[in-house]
Symmetry: C2
């Protein structure tokens, strides 16, 4: 069950002026579930995206990049679940193109003004005729106050819908930032995880928007892992509709930029953590802080070595402070000249290891107390510099195996 | 249950002249089980070792390296299970030294002529007084024909004892190569996995012995993974007692060297595969062949990406040909300029994917047929060179989670 995570209520997800959302049950893979989403953007919206670095990136990811780089103004996003349209070669590209064409026809725009997204089973042909048949229902459903429905429509193995919203005053105007995302397996973003959409009504120059999405990703989706598998379809989109009526944000050193960036990053972080809280089979939410490194890269290496270790994840599932497994992961993370005698390991507030071994003050009962919590912080202090990095992850349970052994049935 | 693996019978493990083995129940962690092993080597034996690259390497690993580099002739090996003496700092080193001293005293040799090994729980103090108390029983038990008992004494979560033996004629003499090893979790050798001991009665020059162990490791223990966790205690030892009475093997290009190397590598490979077959919770044995790469390193990257993916391992557990997950792993393995349109993926003899997607000829029923087998070969042809690499691994089952959630109870 998700760790301290409930679905947002519909009034918590503030509408963003200039973004209309419509969902439908298109029967893509299973009947009687919302599986198709259209987001229509007001004229003048700016859009930035970051995508998976998986070489087998999905057909819709290829088209997204193509359409974004065309320079044409993006007017709509089209998302289906149930089928990832990945590992589908030329035929998959054709099917993704056909779905863009169909939506462009209905909205009177060019195909290149539509961004397509898919998530679900890999290596099966996208039932594009079902996507096309579902579009009119999506369009009939288009409205501003529809974010929760949209969050539900993009779920796959997610148990809980994921959305976050912030309001911030910029230049005397109330600005809204609202986002949705979905997980919950094949989560080790080498960029963003699976699908995420964040929109603001602030007007933002394109370069500033690109900088903002990268900052947000690096502090959110790029800090999480469920199972270490980088998906073929990861996509995060940041939309600025400019409908709020304040001056365009251009200066990346200005207070307006910083205020908006903070709100966007906060939404991204909440969404990213929600994906981990709802990670497949998750029963614990773990924050891995690695501090005192020479650079961020070595801190991340150690953080991910801990976060990916099946031995550590199963020990957390069992609430067993088998902390030698964490030392082992620190040791094999690939920091070649690490002096283990300088390393300190904390579980919550408890000092567990120092001087190359168990801390003299450590009592198993203290470790046990921390391990029983649903939210656990592991802190590693390397003692060789000032860099730090945080990774969020979840534990590894019977249900992870069950979910993934049964995924296609 | 182990995949097509049964314990060797005692007559299958041929004695090696110059190696005496003795075991005892020393009550290190649990009563009524063999947990202490002494191997006594004849004067004139040569010994080579390779060890974990984990920075948190265990105290006995530190001492092994120290004693091997002293140049003193190694006369005995001492192995305990139940406690890894890793993550134990200065105190752990002291305890490892005390156990070497005790054995050296009983065998009338110097401390530096003893190599110590430990495996079991990390970050708990080695009960060295129990080790010392158990030594007389080991010594009373010393005999040549005792390899199976030794294999049993070094087991931890292993279900089946692991041993292999070859006889080969070199220079007109019958030469024996016999080895034992143990797994079965924290298995992703960055050198060798956990503990392995191989001995031959052939006389081999030190340089040739070092070359031989590296060749054997690179074709065996360095090609396996159970869970991607590199242990703190990995050690592989190759012993040449020289008791067979033929001429010393010095020339690394000679037929004698090659014949012995082949036998040693065959024993190492059988032991390494046995560790995977008995991997924690294993129900399938998978051979991942990556071919047509530019170099071996990129083939290994892709092989290990597949072998480490929890999504792939759980799909194999379920006998579900969810092959898109394999494409995804190929895509995220880190080969930055991989042209996915050139990649071919085979499951057993079935072509599954080509041209960036599912092969036109592929039928789910064919994939299903292969997936139902207990031994499955995944073959990836990259189409960009002539290098290749093989990784052996196992699937990921409920029992893996169970074993590791309950490990310390």
């Amino acid at each position: 069950m998700p760790v301290n995570l409930v679905s947002p209520s519909s009034h918590e997800l503030h509408p963003v002026k200039g973004v209309l959302l419509g969902v439908a049950e298109a029967n893509i893979r299973k009947p009687n579930r919302k599986d198709l989403l259209v987001m229509q953007l007001a004229a003048g919206s700016r859009v930035a995206g970051v995508f998976t670095q998986n070489r087998f990136c999905a057909a819709p990811v290829v088209l997204c990049k193509e359409h974004l780089s065309s320079g044409d103004e993006i007017r709509a996003l089209l998302v289906n679940t149930g089928n990832a349209n990945a590992g589908t070669g030329e035929d998959g590209l054709m099917r993704a193109r056909r779905s863009c064409e169909a939506l462009a026809g209905l909205l009177n725009c060019a195909d290149s003004q539509v961004l397509p997204f898919s998530t679900g089973v890999i290596m099966e042909p996208l039932p594009v005729e079902r996507v096309v048949a579902g579009l009119p229902a999506c369009i009939a459903d288009l409205k501003e106050d529809n974010w929760l429905n949209a969050a539900q429509a993009i779920m796959t193995t997610d148990i809980v819908a994921k959305g976050a919203s912030r309001r911030v005053e910029i230049g005397g105007r109330a600005i809204t930032v609202t986002g949705i995302a979905k997980g919950s397996g094949m989560i080790h973003p080498n960029m963003a995880t699976m699908l995420g959409y964040i929109a603001t009504d602030a007007p933002v120059a394109q370069r500033a928007l690109e900088a903002m999405i990268h900052h947000a990703v690096n502090h959110s989706f790029n800090c999480i892992t469920v199972d270490g598998d980088t998906s073929t379809n990861d996509s995060l989109i940041l939309i600025a509709t400019g409908q709020a009526g304040c001056a365009e944000i251009v200066d990346m050193h200005g207070a307006e930029y910083r205020a908006l960036q903070e709100a966007v990053t906060a939404v991204a972080m909440q969404l990213a953590q929600a994906i981990v809280r709802d990670g497949e089979g998750a029963t614990k939410f773990m924050t891995i802080q690695v501090q005192g490194g020479r650079d961020q890269s070595e801190c991340r290496k150690i953080g991910y070595a801990i976060a990916h270790s099946p031995l550590i994840k199963t020990a957390f599932f069992a609430s067993d402070p088998n902390l030698g497994r964490i030392l082992a992961a620190i040791g094999y993370a690939g920091v070649a000249d690490l002096d283990v005698n300088l390393v300190k390991l904390y579980l919550g507030d408890v000092l567990v290891a120092e001087n190359g071994g168990r801390a003299a003050s450590y009592q198993e009962a203290d470790g046990q107390r921390v391990m029983k919590e649903a939210e656990i912080t592991v802190r590693v202090v390397l003692g060789r510099g000032k860099a730090e990095s945080t990774v969020w992850t979840c534990d590894f349970s019977y249900d992870y195996v069950k979910i993934n052994a049964d995924y296609r049935t």
